[in-house]
């Protein structure tokens, strides 16, 4: 009797073992048919936008199926992290975040070196000199304001330190938003702004919202009169009819470039390269412009209502420096603002 009882767990493990083996075999059995390919894309693009990108890509490449996995940048990096702990990264392509994230993956040898076709016509600031990733959109952080509440909008970052803005500013949390973390590093690195400006801004006690989306909402709904937020969100709300407008501050705007890179573990290198090519191609960038993004090439214009690229002062710091100081800058930011 006791033998039979002790057999139960053994039998259980045996069964699980069989089940696991079966599953493993099933996973290996998937074979690729020539030319046809399925690639998995991890991206933080909004769902509607990436759906449009994929269908445009499929016009030229109907043989490639793109399985989109959309999530926040943080979700994606966590996912990649957990995949690394327990095996290979499951994605072929990552289209998300800021250059810093890609720098880290590059250092960890997770990425495949690939320079897209036509790379020379791109804004060289967003191209990784080592050729592991390339930016796909210019996403600057700007000042947005509620047009019902603000008649004389601020025109520079410095303006925001004016005491009249006390308690009226909302900005995203750098712990959550990749762009905000990057911005914190850029601001503290800037000779013009630097720690002094951050301290002065903190004295106005800005409200720290979770991410860029809620910041744009707070400004549009009038909860907050001024917001520090990525430009395309404010532009979209403006065109939807919200009382919101945006200013590109005179000192220049920090930006993230939503880079794309191919994971070294990919089984579908050719198909992945085709997708990356499309993203930065003229067609891909024209689509990005129609989606309110500032493009990474100069031959496709700018979105409706956006200034031309030449009119915007862009802050282009040394990425290696930014990568190094980012953690400290975020910590300093949290110390000042939270």
């Amino acid at each position: 009797m006791s033998l039979r009882k002790s057999l139960a767990p053994v039998a259980a493990f045996a069964l699980i073992g069989i089940a696991l083996t079966g599953c493993g075999a099933a996973a290996d059995a998937s074979t690729a048919i020539a030319n046809e390919a399925t690639i998995t894309l991890y991206t933080s693009e909004p769902q509607e936008k990436i759906d449009a990108v994929v269908s445009a890509f499929n016009v030229d490449h109907p043989e490639i199926t793109v399985e989109v996995f959309r999530a926040g940048t943080g979700d994606l990096t966590a996912r990649i992290e957990s995949e690394r702990v327990s095996g290979d990264v499951q994605a072929d392509i990552l289209l998300a975040a800021d250059a810093g994230t890609f720098e880290r993956y590059k250092t960890d040898d997770l990425l495949l070196a690939y320079s897209p076709a036509d790379v020379e016509s791109l804004d060289q600031d967003v191209v990784d000199p080592d050729g592991f990733y390339v930016g796909t959109r210019i996403i600057p952080t700007v000042i947005a304001y509620n047009t019902n509440l603000v008649t004389a909008p601020p025109t520079s970052w410095q303006d925001l330190t004016d005491a009249s803005y006390a308690g009226t500013i909302t900005m995203p949390n750098p712990d959550v938003s990749g762009a905000a973390a990057y911005n914190a590093a850029v601001w503290s690195d800037s000779a013009e702004l630097g720690d002094t400006w951050l301290q002065e801004l903190a004295a106005n006690q800005p409200i720290i919202a979770e991410s860029n989306g809620p910041v744009s909402q707070a400004v549009a709904s009038g909860t907050s009169s001024v917001g520090i937020v990525v430009d395309y969100l404010a532009r979209e709300l403006k065109s939807a009819g919200s009382p919101i407008d945006l200013v590109y501050p005179s000192e220049g705007v920090p930006y993230v470039s939503q880079p794309v890179g191919i994971f070294a573990s990919t089984d579908e290198q050719a198909a992945s390269e085709a997708f990356v090519d499309f993203l930065v191609s003229e067609a891909g960038q024209t689509l990005a412009v129609s989606q309110s993004y500032l493009p990474v090439r100069s031959d496709v214009g700018t979105p409706d209502g956006a200034p031309s690229m030449d009119d915007i002062t862009i802050i282009t710091p040394d990425l290696t420096v930014i990568s190094e100081i980012q953690a400290a800058a975020v910590a300093r930011f949290n110390e000042l603002f939270q």
Binding site: I16, A78, E81, S86, N146, E210
Partner: protein
């Protein structure tokens, strides 16, 4: 058979076994019930013990405790414990008041009010959060008006108080259900004996009924506190904007933003600690159940509490409160869903159906709804079958492993969804389920099987074992008697439990947000993503659809049960 003399002293079951083993014909005979027991152990090992084991192994592979004692984790832990216990306390108080008013008093319209009172149960907590932001968020009408009249907003829902408020709103129905069931079991003649002894109606309730409900209070409190400790949607949507971080949002942030090194391991450690807490809560619950009184069936008809001169005021407050809890969020969702973008005034010409149209036709929303329905129905079916088998086995047979089997099956109910999700995330690549919706299904089965086991055990425990003994006397084998009698008797309860699983899973967020895979985005995740991305109007539109469907479901169920 050398041990048979020892076995003889171990009670009737052992004698039964010894006798069977003593049969000369076939050596060791494995009876069908034993086979079922082994099979069930295999399943719970695979679905519950394996992932939790992986979590513990990862948690203890490196000492992460020092990190957990840093300010952030300690603060989040404190926030979690405070918000969960305060909201559970409020929920129990409100649930008791509603149970007494709706089940024991002469309040007019009790039947309709009961539906209103239960309605928050059908609205996913994160949808409730979205809706309440539209009522009393900083830019919502109430505060806008208040600011207009008095110069400053009335109350900002964001922050710890808002989290407690919303957790309470979404958990008092559970308290009401538990307490109302206990209330029905309190014989009304106990109260009447007090009346005859000189106690007023109110005193009889206070002195007799309420003390007798104490075990129900405790079990409602622990159940709600543990589940609120695990809630993600409300603290994420309501707490984070004011920097009110709870354990679940902190853990999510650790995974999401990688603010700590090796987040999975840190989360696993937090999870291991929460598991300890859950086990403690389970023990408390078991002890509370043990100290419960045996109450006789009542011989007297229930005497409704006469509200007397308080009737008008109580009616107004109850109706007003419950209508506000049900109708206001709906109105808020409607108004947000019909406006094209934030900051646009609510006027007739500004209203548009675009958000609703997009919410109901966008590929991601449709896929989300499809995934949620598919996953929850599968989870419901699997949980029904497994829960029925486990519940029947542990209540209707005698074996030393029964208590263990039941405890294992019940354990995940006490675990925060985040812990369950992380466990499956850890083992997913090893079992080949990574990047598939089936991972979410596994986690759902693990998380919700307890619902069915519980609903099956309760009615079975109150049926005398003679029911099976009669079947065995009629010639049925042990397994046959179990299948034909207990199993059959428990099927309605199992289906009720399975329905509960479907209803819970279809609106689930915490697990699916972490186990998200290509093609496995659930409805909850779709809405949460919209909200997080700042598309409040689209999130409201989709929430509205979900809420209306949920309320319609409640209405249908109510009509069905009235028939």
């Amino acid at each position: 058979m050398s041990s048979s003399s020892k076995l003889l002293h171990q009670g009737p079951v052992e004698i039964d076994r010894a006798r069977r083993a003593a049969r000369p014909s076939r050596g060791v005979r494995v009876d069908g019930v034993d086979a079922v027991r082994v099979a069930l152990w295999c399943v719970v090992t695979a679905v519950i013990l394996l992932p939790l084991g992986a979590l513990l192994v990862l948690a203890f592979s490196q000492n992460r405790l020092p990190l957990l004692l840093t300010g952030d984790v300690a603060q989040a832990g404190l926030n979690s414990v405070v918000s969960a216990s305060v909201s559970a306390l409020f929920a129990v108080v409100i649930g008791t008041a509603i149970a007494l008013l709706l089940d024991r008093s002469d309040l007019p319209g009790r039947r309709v009010l009961r539906l209103f009172a239960l309605s928050p149960l059908l609205v996913p907590p994160f949808v409730g959060a979205i809706a309440w932001i539209g009522i009393i968020g900083p830019a919502a009408p109430v505060n806008a008006l208040w600011t207009h009249w008095f110069g400053s907003p009335l109350w900002n829902i964001y922050g710890g108080d808002g989290v407690v408020f919303l957790l309470t709103v979404h958990s008092y129905p559970v308290a009401y259900i538990i307490i109302a069931a206990a209330l029905r079991r309190v014989p009304s003649d106990l109260e009447q004996a007090a009346r005859i002894g000189g106690a007023s109606a109110g005193r009889a309730v206070r002195h007799i009924t309420v003390p007798l409900l104490r075990p129900a209070f405790l079990s409602a409190f622990t159940l709600i506190a543990v589940s609120n400790l695990a809630d993600f949607g409300i603290p994420a949507i309501i707490g984070l904007p004011e920097r009110y971080v709870t354990l679940s949002t902190l853990v999510y942030r650790y995974i999401q933003s990688g603010t700590v090194a090796d987040p999975l391991q840190v989360v696993a450690t937090v999870g291991a600690i929460l598991m300890l807490g859950a086990v403690v809560a389970m023990i408390v619950d078991v002890l509370a159940a043990r100290s419960n009184w045996e109450l006789d069936a009542s011989a007297s008809p229930t005497q409704l509490l006469q509200l007397g001169r308080w009737r008008v005021a109580t009616t107004a407050i109850t109706w007003g409160g419950l209508l506000a809890l049900t109708v206001l969020p709906l109105l808020a969702l409607v108004s947000q869903a019909l406006l094209p973008a934030p900051g646009i005034p609510l006027t007739w010409q500004n209203l548009t159906l675009d958000n609703l149209k997009r919410a109901t036709t966008s590929p991601s929303a449709l896929a989300g709804a499809g995934n949620s329905v598919m996953l929850s129905v599968f989870a419901g079916v699997i949980c029904t079958v497994l829960g029925l088998a486990i519940g029947t086995l542990v209540t209707r047979t005698r074996a030393r492993s029964n208590g263990m089997l039941r405890a294992v099956a019940m354990l995940p109910q006490a675990l925060p969804g985040l812990v369950i999700a992380v466990s499956w995330l850890i083992i997913a690549p090893r079992i080949g389920l990574f990047n598939t919706p089936w991972l979410i299904l596994c986690a759902y089965v693990m998380a919700f099987i307890a619902l069915v086991v519980q609903s099956v055990s309760a009615p079975l425990r109150s049926t005398p074992l003679a029911a099976e003994e009669a079947a065995r006397a009629s010639g049925a084998s042990r397994l046959r008697a179990l299948l034909d009698i207990s199993w059959r008797m428990a099927i309605p309860a199992a289906i009720a439990g399975g329905t509960l699983v479907v209803l819970t899973a279809v609106r689930e967020l915490t697990i699916s947000v972490l186990l998200l895979a290509p093609g496995a985005q659930t409805l909850g995740v779709t809405i949460f993503n919209l909200q997080q991305a700042g598309s409040y109007n689209a999130a409201s539109a989709l929430s509205l659809v979900v809420t209306v469907l949920g309320l319609a479901g409640l209405g249908l169920t109510a009509r069905q049960s009235r028939r």
